[in-house]
Amino acid sequence: MSFSPAITFLDKEYSSPILGASGTFGNGDIYKDLLNYSKIGGFVTKAVTAQPRAGNPGQRIFETSGGVLNSIGLENDGLANFIEQKLPEFEKYDCHIWVNVSGNSPEEYINIIETIGEHDFIAGFEINVSCPNVAHGGMRFGASADQVRSLTSRIRVRTNKPITIKLNPNVIDIVEIAKAAKDGKAHAITVSNTFLGMEIDVHKKQPVLGNVTGGYSGKPIFPLALRCVWQIRKEIDIPIIGCGGITSGLDGIKMLMAGASLLQVGTSTLKNPRALEDISNEMSDWAEKNGYSSFSEIIGVAQKND
């Protein structure tokens, strides 16, 4: 019997466990000629905020130490534009689309989710409580278990769509925050957002990024993100979307083994627009060669051997 890359997540079938991560995939339009959307699990939109946001000034992205620092600062055209311009396109994309939502207050999150509503071509909402690049933004929520629990439970009752809470990994105890999301009745958690870093330009004698610090992503953060997924899965039972530094099929397999049920790939797409398909294919090849018949058999297996 041949291997099938399909995987079921929250009762929906995904043709692959690999999704494009928020902020690296636009809203689906950009990669449609370069990627076969029916071969990937789907993607997460760029963060949507209630009002349009210009994002951060100055340099916003920089490669360093094998990874990438970014401080985009949630640039987006705002909720109204999202509903008018972007949402109608989703019908054309043959994959699951999660909407990444960001806000300054619980009310802003709720407003966005209720305004978008129960749209047919939306798989669910990814609640970004962890963007490191906005001064008065999501970071505040992501750091405290109480706030995550309360935000999650308030959002939860305003929509019938699944919600996943995208965690901030820059904390001493990510399990505590994951528990709070579970207590708030999140359907899943996304583990995780970027790690806070910075770079200095020695010639200019100043930070490279206009926003000084930025989110560190890509290959170098893989061992950090893998650890987060492992710690959470070890302690609590909630579907995990693994994200952070996945650049190869083997990385994807490791994330599944640690306990993730679905995966997101961000930075890899910036260099290779076909990364989502390539990584998915590498995963399938490995799994097939190693005698698995589906990815679901791999989820959490390393936990059992610990």
């Binding site: 902020g23 690296t24 995939f25 636009g26 950009i30 990669y31 000629d33 370069l34 760029k46 210009a54 994002g55 000034p57 340099q59 916003r60 992205i61 920089f62 490669e63 094998g66 990874g67 990438v68 970014n70 985009i72 640039e75 890509g218 290959k219 930075t267 797409t269 910036l270 260099k271 290779n272 627009p273 076909r274």
Partner: protein, 254 residues
């Protein structure tokens, strides 16, 4: 204008050698779709092994049968790795990207001004529109080694170097100022101070003046929003709205 499809491909390096007489390098590879659809001012993103981000380079030339040529200077991690790669080794390429220079039907003459590695897109322009537009080419660099040997450049090119090691001694705008130039469209790419001087120099001209700008880029295709600039008509993204902008739009960021 309908946006053309972009091509992403793994390609083998055909040439990766120093350009005679200079520290600049010439990279070429075979990618017919990109070669056939690229316009001057457009660029490609080159994926270099070991780099997390692709690196943007203007297209300097396309050859019959599908060869694409890039001119580059070694400035950092990625270009250092690239410069050590051999023929036959693999890179990735995504393109053509960006808008390219815009020409009007009636344009017959123009000035092409290139500074530093910014000579690449204007050389492509000269070549591409050779039969259509009579262009006068001005190239400037800090020093002789940062320009290709003159024998490789189009006839009639005027050259300046800051240190006087080749051609006119001074910057390229000083060189132009010494001539009596009739207003005509200007297409330029180079360091910001050069573009600023061009803007001042041409400020009474009523002709089209277009600048190709560089910013640090992530994806090069509109996915990451990493390449914004503030123009007179609001925030734009250099990789999709540019890299070519009307000079008047970007005067504040030069």
């Amino acid at each position: 204008m309908e946006r053309l499809k972009k091509k992403f491909a793994k390609v083998e390096i055909i040439t990766n050698c120093e350009i005679p007489g200079s520290e600049l390098k010439l990279l070429s590879f075979f990618e017919p779709t990109i070669a056939l659809t690229s316009k001057p001012g457009q660029f490609v993103e080159i994926g270099i092994p070991g780099c997390a981000l692709p690196k943007p380079f203007s297209i300097m030339n396309t050859q019959k049968f599908g060869i694409v040529e890039i001119l580059y200077q070694v400035v950092g991690v990625g270009t250092t790795i690239l410069s050590k790669m051999k023929e036959g080794e693999e890179i990735t390429v995504l393109g053509p990207l960006g808008n390219g220079f815009s020409i009007d039907e009636e344009t017959e003459n123009c000035y092409l001004i290139g500074g530093g590695t910014g000579i690449a897109p204007v050389l492509f322009f000269a070549n591409y529109y050779e039969d259509k537009i009579k262009s006068k080419l001005f190239l400037g660099a800090r020093t002789k080694n940062l320009l290709p040997d003159t024998s490789l450049l189009p006839e009639g090119v005027e050259i300046s170097t800051d240190d006087g090691t080749l051609g006119f001694s001074g910057n390229v705008v000083e060189l132009m100022a010494g001539k009596l130039l009739a207003p005509a469209p200007v297409y330029s790419c180079g360091p910001k101070p050069m573009l600023k001087s061009i803007l001042d120099f041409t400020n009474t001209w009523k002709t089209k003046i277009e600048f190709s700008l560089e910013t640090y880029m992530g994806c090069g295709i509109g996915g990451c929003l990493g390449c914004q600039i503030e123009t007179k008509s609001g925030q734009k993204h250099v990789c999709t709205d540019g890299p070519v902008f009307p000079a008047s739009e970007v005067s504040d960021v030069l």
